[in-house]
Amino acid sequence: MTEVIQTTIDIYKNYIGNSMMAVLLMAAVLYLWVTEEKKEIKILFVYLTAAVGALFFFPVFAYIAMHVFLDKQVYYRIIWLVPMGMIVSYTFVKVVTQIERKRRRIVVSVFALLFLIQTGSLIYLNPMVTPRENLYHLPAEDIAVADVLHVDGRNVKAVVPAELLQFIRQYDPSIELAYGREALVDGWSSNPLFECMEANPVRSYAITDYSRQQGVEYIVLRTGTPIVGGNPIQKYQFTYLTTVENYDIYIFDDAEFAEEKKAEYASLMDEDWEENWTNTH
């Protein structure tokens, strides 16, 4: 039970972060409890909030929720049942409208908003929020790679570097992958090909052998990836096709569409291109 209590507290702290969200909510609920005259507001914003809050921290409920109908990863969603923004905003309006002088009302409003701004975190300052590169809101290099891999009228199977895993199938679902996003999350799955692809240096025999075993038709590597082994990749039935946006693309020679693709990209072949291969045998 101690573990459940600790987990609940951790979940709460992770949710609230360093903000004053909870303090504002508690102040609002207390204010409404003392001053609010409308019964329906008290029921919804005071009693119900208190009940949901108590349930969230109640160890027996938390244990059942985490083990039966939710799990530890999503237990924080119980906090969503308290519409904090609605309660705090309502209280703010109540406080402001009870001030009789207009100038004082404006000053209090401005200070309240500044307090909120100061203690909160603007979504647009999140480093993950960036200007879009296209209407898909996907990295441009993922789209460029997917366009090379695509074959009309059929699915293809590829193995790609970790940073492309999450996005490539959001653009083109006809591209199957040897493994997907779950490979990035500890404990979700393990595929030996993933370990080989993300190793530094990459072993040419290992990635081509696992790729053949798993029916992979394309291998995509970051340009300049150091490759070691008895032979370069090209000697293991995967021919270099082209380079786009700093990704080298190899095609499986026995793939049904291989000759057609090679012909398509022959004219774009960079004569100076060389595999970054070192013979270790």
């Binding site: 029921i43 906090i79 209407l135 898909y136 809101h137 996907l138 895993l165 199938r169």
Partner: protein, 345 residues
């Protein structure tokens, strides 16, 4: 391109508007407005999708069949709703005509509209590369591409067993439906259009809430929205908050739950606490719990906790035991899908 945009307009503005006329027609007069019609229409569409498409998913029928069935049924419902409920339009128009701008309301109103417009522009011009889209958006795309629903792993495209955990809350299939009907790529639809549209829908819901919280106090309604929009903008204090989800995962069911379903649920819960429930309001509460099951499995299990707790509080505070029975009736969708989930799991 204009044809695609036109079809998208029909699906996201005309259909919900028509579908929302009938429920608003049977609501109390003070609830009748064009905003309420549009919002109710969306919840009608969500609820109908849940009722119609989940059986297709569980029976492992094709996506195309589900698309055809839902398109026909929701179109028919929209036409019938418009014809039967058209008097709600007249009342909504009268309410609109009667509305007068209060002293001091205009500057606050302009500020709120500018803030919301900036947020919509942010949703269009800024991106947030969310890892969960590798599941949600790819599920929509895979459904369209393979003509199946929840049968192929969206992460890498392999054939597998029915993913029942997600199948009972089919928001990605809804997005795939929208993409199929409009002819627009799902990813563009979700990231560049739904991201804006559902923010607008969220504020429209909060506007309906504001009207109930501050009846006949227009300036206060807009002041409430002003503070709320600032709260949302600065609510990115962790990746878990509903506010963070509202901007970064707008098109995912788990964002729709806290930002669309919960505020709309609170609207009806407020009416319950205030004894303002008529047949239309109870019907919308029922559709809202159905919509909660549509958005996420979290909704299936947490809405009964929220609504049930409120019913008990009302029963105790107001000495009205009947409200518990009425609430349980409205929770039937959650109970049904909850049992189905546990049975199929």
């Amino acid at each position: 391109m204009w044809i695609h945009l036109g079809l998208l307009f029909v699906c996201t503005w005309v259909l919900p508007f028509c579908a929302g006329v009938l429920p608003v027609r049977i609501m109390k007069e003070e609830h009748r407005s064009f905003g309420m019609i549009w919002v109710s229409g969306w919840f009608m569409m969500f609820a109908m999708f849940q009722v119609l498409v989940v059986p297709f998913i569980v029976a492992q029928q094709s996506f195309s069949l589900a698309v055809r069935t839902y398109s026909i049924v929701i179109s028919a419902i929209s036409v019938v709703s418009l014809v039967i409920g058209r008097r709600a339009l007249k009342k909504s128009m009268d309410n609109l005509k009667d509305s007068r701008i209060e002293n001091g309301q205009l500057p606050v109103m302009i500020l709120v509209i500018v803030l919301i417009a900036l947020q919509l522009a942010g949703a269009f011009f800024l991106q947030y590369l969310d890892g969960d889209d590798a599941f949600y958006v790819a599920t929509s795309l895979t459904s369209e591409h393979m003509d199946t629903m929840y049968r192929f792993t969206p992460y890498y495209g392999a054939n597998g067993e029915l993913d029942i955990r997600h199948a009972l809350s089919p928001v990605p299939i809804f997005m795939a439906w929208l993409a199929r009907v409009s002819g627009i790529h799902v990813t563009i639809l979700c990231h560049s259009y739904i991201s804006m549209l559902f923010l607008l829908l969220m504020y429209m819901i909060y506007f309906q809430v504001a009207k109930r919280l501050f009846p006949n106090q227009k300036k206060n309604q807009w002041l409430f929205l002003l503070f709320l929009s600032i709260w949302y903008l600065f609510g990115n204090v962790s990746i878990y908050t509903a506010e963070s989800f509202a901007f970064t995962r707008t098109w995912q069911g788990k964002s729709m739950f806290p930002n669309l379903v919960i505020p709309y649920l609170f609207l009806w819960m407020f009416c319950m606490a205030k004894d303002e429930m008529d047949i239309g309001e109870w019907a919308m509460l029922f559709l809202t719990t159905l919509a909660a099951t549509f958005t996420t499995s979290t909704g299936i299990f947490t809405v009964p906790i929220l609504l049930g707790t409120e019913a008990v509080i009302i029963a105790v505070v107001k000495k009205k035991a009947m409200v518990v029975v009425q609430t349980v009736a409205c929770l039937v969708p959650c109970l049904f899908f909850g049992m189905l989930y546990l049975f199929l799991k």
